[in-house]
C-alpha cells in the first residue's frame, strides 16, 4: 500500500509536459502564461474558505533565457541559476485548519513558516545541499520579509518517505535528489509578509484578483496562509527544454460571525472590503469559482455565474459556478467604473438545524490532533491521535520533527489502537499497531533535531494514539528567547495517506497547475497531507529577574563612570589656587573663626598622633604631589595638542 505513494507519480508527470505549451490568442509571449483563480467555498459552521491561486508558467527552454524575465519574478529565475533547487514550497500561515469541521484544504500548511525544497544536480553532495539550503532560506527571508533566515541545520531534516518530488529533471543529469524540510512554528504572519508576496505577482496589487487581498481584511480571518511553490519540469531527453512553474496561493477562512452582521449572507465586498475592479491585463485567464454543492447549496449567487461546472472525482460530485472576469468586464460598458461584486444569499427557509446535521455527517475520512501530556518542566509525552472514519484501512505515514531542546526516547514510542466506538485505548502491548516503516535519526544537543518517521496501516473505523516520551532540556541562559516564560515550540507533525476516494478532497493533482485541472481528475488514489497543531512546551526556565538586575546595575555603573572618564579625557585641566574667602561679611567672620578653631584642634590632635600616622601623612602628601605632577603632564599634553 505504501509503495503506491512512490510509484504513481513519475509516469503521470511525463504526461503533462507538452500540454500547456500551446500558444494562446493573447498578445504577450506565448511561452509564458499567467492565470489567476479564486475559489470560494462555504464551509460548515458559518465559515467561508477563499482560495486564491496565481500561476505563472514559463517555458524558458534554454537556461540562458533565465536572464530575461517577463512575468516570472526575477528572483525566481535567479535562484534557479544560482542553486540546484528544483522544487520549493514555502508557506506562511496564521491559525490552524480545522479538518473536522472544514474538510480538507486545497493546499495544506502548518502554522508559522514552513519550507521544503528538493535539490538535484549531477555531483551534488550532502554538504553542498546543506549550504545551498541555508542560502535559499536566507534569500526568501529577504523576499518575503519573514524569519526564514533562522532555518539552519539545527532545525532542518531530510524526510525519507513523506514528501515525493513533483519536479522533473532530464535523464542526463542523473543526479541524486535531496530534500530538506524545516518549520518555524513561532513565526507570526502579518502585513509585512503579504505586501512582498503580492509584489511577486505580474500585476502586483494594482489590478486583478490580488486587489482583493487587503491586509485589513485578510488578517481578520480565522486562518490565512500564504504559499509560494516553485517547480521545474524539464524534458527527459533535452536539457534545454524546461518549464518553471510558480504558484502563489492565499488560503483564507473567514468566520462570518466575526464580521458582525446579523445573518450569514456574504459577498466579496463583505469579505474583502471592496469589489473587484477588473482583471489583470497580463493574465491569460482570471476566473472565480464558487462552490455550489455541499455547504454552497444553501446560497443563491447574485449575479448568477456565467456557467456551472460539475466535477466527479473519486466518486464524489462537486459543482462550481464559474465567473470569467475577463468576459464580465469586456461585456460591460468600457467606461463603467462599478466594481464587480458577487453576493451569496442564503435561503431563508432552511433552518440552522439542517446545517448542523450536514456538518456532523461530513467528518473527513482522516484527521489528527496532537497534544502534550504530563505536567511539570522535566518530562512529558507527545501524543498524536489519528482517526480513520473511513470503512477501509488506510496507510499512514507520520513525520515528527522534534527540536533539539527536547529529547525524545524511541523505546517509549507506542502506537495504541482503538475502535471508533470504544472509549479507551487498548492497553495490551500485543494490541499495538505494528510499524510498516520506521526511520529515526536521534537529535543532538544544539546540532540536530530528532527526526522520526513512522508508517503503519490504520484499520478501518478506528483511531491510533502515538505517544513518545520526551525530556525537557535546561538551556544555557543565552539560549532563552526574550520572553522565556512563553515556552518553546515543537512544530506540527505531518501526516500523509492515500485516500481511495475523493470525498472532501480538493487538492490539485500533482501534475496539474491550475485549479480547473482538478475537475474530473479521478485517480486510483489521492495523496493527502495533513498537519497537526504545534505545541508549546515550558522548558525549565530560570528566574531572569536576577540577570536583568545585574545588567541594569552594570549599565548604571558604566553610565556613571562614563561621564567623569569622558570629561577627564577630553577637558583641559587647569589647577587654580582657590580663594576660600566667602563674599558675605557675616560668613567671612564665621569662616575665619572656624578655620582658626579648626587649626588649633588639629595641632592639639597632631601631638597625640603616632609615628605611623605621620608616615601615612607623608605618603599622602607624596601622592598628592604625584597627582599634581600628572595634572601638569596633562596640561602639557593638552597644550601640545
Amino acid at each position: 500500500m505504501l509503495s503506491a505513494l512512490s510509484t504513481f507519480l513519475p509516469p503521470l508527470l511525463l504526461l503533462l509536459l507538452w500540454t500547456p505549451l500551446t500558444p494562446t490568442a493573447h498578445g504577450h509571449q506565448p511561452d509564458e502564461q499567467f492565470h489567476e483563480e479564486l475559489v470560494v467555498r462555504p464551509l460548515a459552521g458559518d465559515h467561508v474558505n477563499t482560495y486564491f491561486q496565481f500561476t505563472t508558467r514559463w517555458h524558458y527552454g534554454d537556461r540562458n533565457n533565465l536572464f530575461h524575465t517577463q512575468l516570472t519574478p526575477r528572483v525566481i529565475a535567479e535562484i534557479l541559476q544560482t542553486y540546484d533547487v528544483k522544487e520549493l514550497h514555502i508557506s506562511l500561515t496564521q491559525g490552524l485548519w480545522r479538518y473536522e469541521s472544514w474538510g480538507y484544504p486545497i493546499v495544506d500548511a502548518t502554522g508559522g513558516a514552513e519550507l521544503w525544497a528538493w535539490f538535484s544536480a549531477s555531483n551534488l553532495t550532502n554538504d553542498a545541499v546543506n549550504k545551498q539550503w541555508m542560502q535559499l532560506a536566507n534569500v526568501f527571508s529577504g523576499v518575503l520579509c519573514s524569519s526564514l533566515n533562522f532555518v539552519d541545520n539545527t532545525n532542518s531534516i531530510a524526510p525519507r518517505h513523506i514528501f515525493r518530488p513533483q519536479f522533473m529533471h532530464h535523464a542526463g543529469e542523473n543526479g541524486k535528489q535531496f530534500v530538506r524540510y524545516a518549520t518555524l512554528p513561532r513565526e507570526i504572519v502579518c502585513t509585512e509578509n503579504l505586501t512582498p508576496w503580492k509584489k511577486l505577482l505580474p500585476c502586483g496589487s494594482a489590478s486583478g484578483l490580488a486587489t482583493l487581498l487587503n491586509s485589513g481584511f485578510v488578517h481578520n480571518t480565522k486562518y490565512h496562509s500564504l504559499g509560494v511553490k516553485v517547480r521545474t519540469l524539464c524534458d527527459h531527453d533535452d536539457d534545454n527544454n524546461c518549464i518553471v512553474e510558480l504558484t502563489q496561493t492565499a488560503n483564507l477562512v473567514y468566520d462570518l460571525k466575526l464580521l458582525e452582521q446579523s445573518n450569514t449572507d456574504f459577498s466579496l465586498r463583505r469579505l474583502f472590503g471592496m469589489g473587484l475592479n477588473g482583471y489583470c491585463e497580463l493574465a491569460t485567464s482570471s476566473r472565480i469559482y464558487a462552490q455550489r454543492s455541499e455547504q454552497g447549496e444553501r446560497f443563491q449567487l447574485v449575479p448568477p455565474p456565467a456557467f456551472n461546472v460539475s466535477s466527479i472525482r473519486g466518486g464524489h460530485r462537486v459543482s462550481y459556478g464559474v465567473y470569467d472576469i475577463q468576459q464580465q468586464f469586456e461585456a460591460a460598458a468600457p467606461d463603467a467604473t462599478r466594481l464587480f461584486n458577487i453576493a451569496w444569499i442564503g435561503e431563508k427557509s432552511a433552518g440552522g438545524g439542517r446545517r448542523l446535521a450536514v456538518s456532523a455527517l461530513n467528518l473527513p475520512p482522516l484527521y489528527a490532533h496532537r497534544y502534550l501530556l504530563g505536567n511539570g518542566q522535566k518530562r512529558g509525552r507527545i501524543a498524536t491521535e489519528i482517526r480513520n472514519t473511513h470503512y477501509e484501512d488506510l496507510p499512514v505515514v507520520l513525520l515528527e520533527l522534534v527540536p533539539w531542546y527536547v529529547h525524545a526516547y524511541l523505546h517509549t514510542l507506542r502506537i495504541r489502537n482503538k475502535a471508533q466506538q470504544r472509549r479507551e485505548y487498548a492497553t495490551d502491548v500485543n494490541d499495538e499497531l505494528p510499524f510498516k516503516l520506521l526511520h529515526y535519526a536521534p537529535g543532538k544537543q544544539r546540532e540536530l533535531p530528532t527526526h522520526l518517521e513512522i508508517g503503519f496501516v490504520l484499520p478501518a473505523k478506528s483511531s491510533a494514539m502515538i505517544t513518545i516520551e520526551v525530556d525537557y532540556l535546561l538551556l544555557k541562559w543565552l539560549e532563552y528567547p526574550p520572553d522565556a516564560n512563553h515556552g518553546h515550540y515543537i512544530g506540527a507533525a505531518v501526516i500523509s495517506t492515500q485516500l481511495p476516494m475523493g470525498r472532501n478532497y480538493s487538492a490539485l493533482p500533482p501534475e496539474a497547475h491550475l485549479f480547473k485541472d482538478s475537475f474530473n481528475a479521478s485517480r486510483p488514489s489521492y495523496t493527502l497531507t495533513l498537519r497537526t497543531e504545534a505545541l508549546i512546551v515550558s522548558l525549565p526556565t530560570p528566574d531572569f529577574s536576577m540577570p536583568y538586575n545585574v545588567i541594569c546595575l552594570a549599565c548604571t555603573v558604566v553610565a556613571l563612570a562614563f561621564g567623569p572618564i569622558h570629561s577627564v579625557a577630553t577637558k583641559l585641566m587647569i589647577v587654580e589656587r582657590q580663594t576660600t574667602m566667602p563674599r558675605n561679611l557675616l560668613r567671612k567672620l564665621i569662616h575665619k573663626l572656624k578655620s582658626r578653631w579648626g587649626s588649633k584642634k588639629e595641632e592639639a590632635t597632631s601631638v597625640q598622633e603616632t609615628a605611623t600616622d605621620e608616615k601615612q601623612q607623608q605618603q599622602h602628601e607624596e601622592k598628592e604631589a604625584e597627582q599634581q605632577e600628572s595634572v601638569i603632564c596633562n596640561e602639557q599634553k593638552q597644550a601640545n595638542m
Binding site: T221, K257, E424, T427
Partner: protein, 654 residues
C-alpha cells in the same frame, strides 16, 4: 564524627556552658520573637501595597464592549435553566448546556469520568463534564484560558449557584463574536463539585493514562479536544445575577496560591467596574464593626492562614495550581444588604459581565505565563500583602531553637550519660576522658530501630485504611479509618512503656526528634506556610519544655499533659469540637461531644479520600510526620521517668 566529637566542644567550652545556662531563656526569647514578628506583620509598616508586576496584563486598557444584551441573554438563559432544573432534580441538564454551546458556535465536547470509591467495595460513580472551546482566530490552538462554572444539582446541600452557568454562556456568546482572542477560550461546566474539575484536569494532562490499572480511584479518561497549554483559569460561582459583593477565593490545593498578579488583576478590574470585591469579603453590615485597622488586618491574615492550613482548596480553582495554571474563583453573593432596594434586573449583572470581559482580555494579552510577582504571600488587606521574605523569619525564629537545643544536647551528651550510667563517685574525673569513647558506644542501633518502627507506624496509617482486606469488612469508611488511626495511636501510646531503650538512647532520640522536627517544620512551612506556622506555634512550647534531665515533678506532669493534648487525633477532635460549638450553639455539651467525635472521624476519612483522589498531602503529613514525632516526644516524656527510676533503684541497691 571528628567535628562533632571535637574535645573543644565538650562541656568545658565556654559557649556551651553559657548556652546550657540560658538555653531555656533563649528558646523562649526566640519563640516570643517569632510570634511577635508574626503579629507585627499585620501592621502597615511591615507589609506592602500590592502592585501589578506583569505589564502585559495592563488591566483596564480597553473599554469593555459587553452590553446590556448579554445581561438580557443571561436572564433569559437563567429562566430556561430554572425550567430545566425542575426536571433534573439530581442530574445535570447536559443536553441543554451542550445545545447552548453549540448554538453559540463553540466546539462542544463532553467528558465522562468514573470514580471508584476507595471504600465500600469498589462502588462506582459516573460523572460528565461539558465544555465548549472557542477557537481563537489569532492562534493555532497552542495556548488556552479556562472559564469554568460548577453546576450544582437542586438536591445539593451547598449554596445554589445556578446563575453561574447562564452568566458563563452569556459571556461565551459575546466572546464568540470577537476577533481579538489570541488564546483559545475553554468554557467548562463541571459537576460534582471538585471531583468533576479534578477529573477534567487529569484527563487534560494525563489523557493517555491506562484506565484499567487497579490503583487508580479516579478514572479520568481522555478528552476529545484540547486547546494547547493552559495559561490561566477563572472559576465563576454566582449566587444571583443581582450581585451584592464579590469574594475572591485564592487558596488552592496544599495551600498553593495563584500568582499575586492574578489576584491584583481581579481586584483592579472589579474596582474599575464598580463591583464591591475583596478577599474574604463579608456583607457590609458585619464589616461595620469598631475594629482598629490593625485588628482587621490581623483577622484577615489569620483567616487566610486558617483556610490555607488544611490544604483543601476552597473552590474549583485550587486544583489548577498543581498543573502550574494560575486560577482563582470569584464568588458573587446574593444581595443581602438593602435587599428591598431592587436594582433593575435587566442590567444587574452588567458590571460583573464587564469585569469578566476585562479579566479575559487582560489574560488574553499575556505573552508569557504568570511568572513575575509572588507565588508565596499572605494577604493582609485587599490591597496589602506580605511576601515570603517577610513572613519566613517568623517561622525560622520559632523553629531555630530546636537546632540550638539539638547542638547543646549533643555536646553535653557525655555528661548526662555518664551521670546516669556510672557511679556518681567515679563520674567526676573519668567523664571527660571517656567522652570520645562514650559517644562511639552510644546505642545508635537501637535508637535507629526505634525510629524506624515509629515511622512504620506512621506509614501504616497511610496505607492500612486503603487495603482491600479492610475494605471487605462490614464497616463504613469513617469508623474504619478512625479505628485504624486510634489503634495506631494506641500502639504509639503504649510503646514507651513496653520498649526500654538502653542508657543514652533517650538522649539520642531527643536529638533525633529535635532535628527531624526542625527540618520538617521548615520544609512544611516553605510549602504551606500556614500549616507549618500553626503547628510550630502550638508544639514549640513542648519542644522547649522537653528535657531528658530530671526536673521538678509539676513541670514533668505539665509536659505530660501538654504532650497528650498535642496528639494529632486529640487536636483534630478539639478543632472539630470548637468548630461545631460555633456552628451549633444550641447544642448542650453532652450532645456536642459525641457529635464532634463522629465529625472528627468523618474529617479524617475525608482527608484520606482527598489525599488519594486530589493529592492533598495533609493526611500524609499528619500520619507520616506528625504522628511519629508525637510518639517520640511521648517516649521522651514518659520514658525518662522509667530511666530515672531504674537509676534510683540502682542507687538504693548500692
Amino acid at each position: 564524627m571528628g567535628l562533632l566529637s571535637d574535645p573543644s566542644l565538650s562541656t568545658h567550652n565556654k559557649l556551651v556552658d553559657n548556652l546550657a545556662k540560658h538555653v531555656r531563656k533563649l528558646c523562649l526569647a526566640l519563640y516570643t520573637a517569632g510570634v511577635v514578628w508574626f503579629l507585627c506583620l499585620a501592621m502597615p509598616e511591615f507589609n506592602h501595597g500590592t502592585y501589578l508586576s506583569e505589564n502585559a496584563l495592563s488591566p483596564g486598557l480597553v473599554y469593555p464592549e459587553i452590553r446590556i444584551e448579554a445581561n438580557r441573554l443571561a436572564v433569559q438563559l437563567l429562566e430556561e435553566l430554572q425550567r430545566e432544573r425542575k426536571e433534573h432534580q439530581s442530574t445535570t441538564p447536559h443536553a441543554w448546556i451542550a445545545a447552548k454551546f453549540q448554538e453559540f458556535g463553540l466546539e462542544t465536547h463532553t467528558h465522562n469520568y468514573t470514580l471508584r470509591y476507595p471504600f465500600g467495595d469498589g462502588k462506582e460513580f459516573h460523572g460528565k463534564n461539558i465544555y465548549g472551546i472557542l477557537r481563537a482566530p489569532r492562534i493555532g490552538s497552542t495556548e488556552g484560558i479556562v472559564f469554568s462554572a460548577p453546576y450544582r444539582v437542586p438536591s445539593s446541600v451547598h449554596v445554589d449557584i445556578t446563575p453561574s452557568v447562564p452568566l458563563l454562556l452569556a459571556f461565551a456568546d459575546f466572546a464568540r463574536r470577537k476577533n481579538y482572542w489570541a488564546k483559545d477560550l475553554i468554557f467548562l461546566v463541571t459537576e460534582q463539585e471538585q471531583l468533576g474539575m479534578q477529573a477534567w484536569l487529569e484527563a487534560y494532562h494525563d489523557g493517555d493514562k491506562e484506565s484499567d490499572s487497579s490503583d487508580a480511584y479516579l478514572r479520568a479518561g481522555n478528552l476529545p479536544a484540547r486547546a494547547g497549554s493552559l495559561q490561566a483559569a477563572l472559576n465563576i460561582e454566582v449566587q444571583d445575577l443581582e450581585v451584592d459583593y464579590i469574594d475572591v477565593k485564592i487558596e488552592g490545593l496544599n495551600g498553593k496560591l495563584p500568582n499575586l498578579d492574578m489576584f491584583n488583576l481581579v481586584q483592579r478590574i472589579m474596582a474599575r467596574e464598580g463591583v464591591v470585591s475583596g478577599y474574604k469579603h463579608t456583607p457590609r453590615k458585619k464589616r461595620r464593626s469598631h475594629q482598629s485597622n490593625y485588628e482587621q488586618n490581623l483577622r484577615q491574615m489569620l483567616a487566610m492562614l486558617s483556610s490555607q492550613a488544611s490544604g483543601v482548596p476552597n473552590g474549583n480553582h485550587g486544583l489548577f495550581h498543581r498543573y502550574r495554571i494560575d486560577a482563582l474563583t470569584i464568588t458573587a453573593s446574593k444581595r443581602v444588604t438593602n435587599a428591598n432596594v431592587k436594582s433593575n434586573p435587566t442590567s444587574a449583572a452588567v458590571p460583573l459581565l464587564k469585569a469578566i470581559e476585562g479579566i479575559a482580555r487582560s489574560l488574553n494579552n499575556l505573552l508569557e505565563r504568570f511568572h513575575q510577582s509572588f507565588f508565596f504571600y499572605v494577604i493582609v488587606n485587599n490591597d496589602r500583602y506580605i511576601s515570603i521574605g517577610d513572613y519566613m523569619p517568623a517561622l525560622i525564629a520559632l523553629v531555630a531553637c530546636t537546632f540550638i537545643k539539638a547542638y547543646l544536647t549533643w555536646s553535653t551528651l557525655d555528661v548526662t550519660v555518664a551521670a546516669t550510667q556510672s557511679d556518681p563517685k567515679s563520674a567526676g574525673g573519668k567523664s571527660t576522658l571517656a567522652a570520645d569513647t562514650m559517644k562511639l558506644s552510644l546505642p545508635y542501633g537501637s535508637v535507629l530501630i526505634y525510629l524506624t518502627f515509629v515511622l512504620l507506624i506512621g506509614y501504616c496509617g497511610n496505607v492500612l485504611p486503603l487495603q482491600e482486606y479492610f475494605s471487605k469488612l462490614p464497616l463504613s469508611a469513617a469508623p474504619l479509618t478512625a479505628s485504624i488511626l486510634v489503634g495506631l495511636n494506641a500502639i504509639g501510646f503504649v510503646l514507651p512503656f513496653v520498649v526500654t531503650l538502653p542508657p543514652g538512647g533517650l538522649e539520642l532520640l531527643h536529638i533525633g526528634l529535635l532535628l527531624i522536627y526542625g527540618c520538617a517544620m521548615i520544609v512544611i512551612g516553605l510549602l504551606n506556610f500556614s500549616l507549618g506556622f500553626f503547628v510550630a506555634v502550638i508544639s514549640m512550647p513542648l519542644i522547649i519544655a522537653l528535657n531528658t534531665k530530671a526536673s521538678d515533678k509539676s513541670m514533668r506532669n505539665l509536659t505530660c499533659v501538654w504532650t497528650l493534648l498535642l496528639n494529632p487525633l486529640v487536636i483534630i477532635y478539639i478543632i472539630v469540637l470548637i468548630m461545631s460549638f460555633y456552628q451549633f450553639p444550641e447544642l448542650t455539651a453532652l450532645q456536642l461531644l459525641p457529635r464532634a467525635a463522629s465529625a472528627a472521624m468523618d474529617a479524617a476519612t475525608f482527608a484520606l479520600i482527598d489525599s488519594v483522589i486530589y493529592g492533598n498531602w495533609l493526611y500524609f503529613v499528619v500520619c507520616t510526620i506528625f504522628l511519629p514525632l508525637w510518639i517520640i516526644s511521648w517516649t521522651l516524656v514518659v520514658g525518662k521517668r522509667r530511666d530515672v527510676e531504674i537509676t534510683k533503684t540502682k542507687l538504693k541497691t548500692n
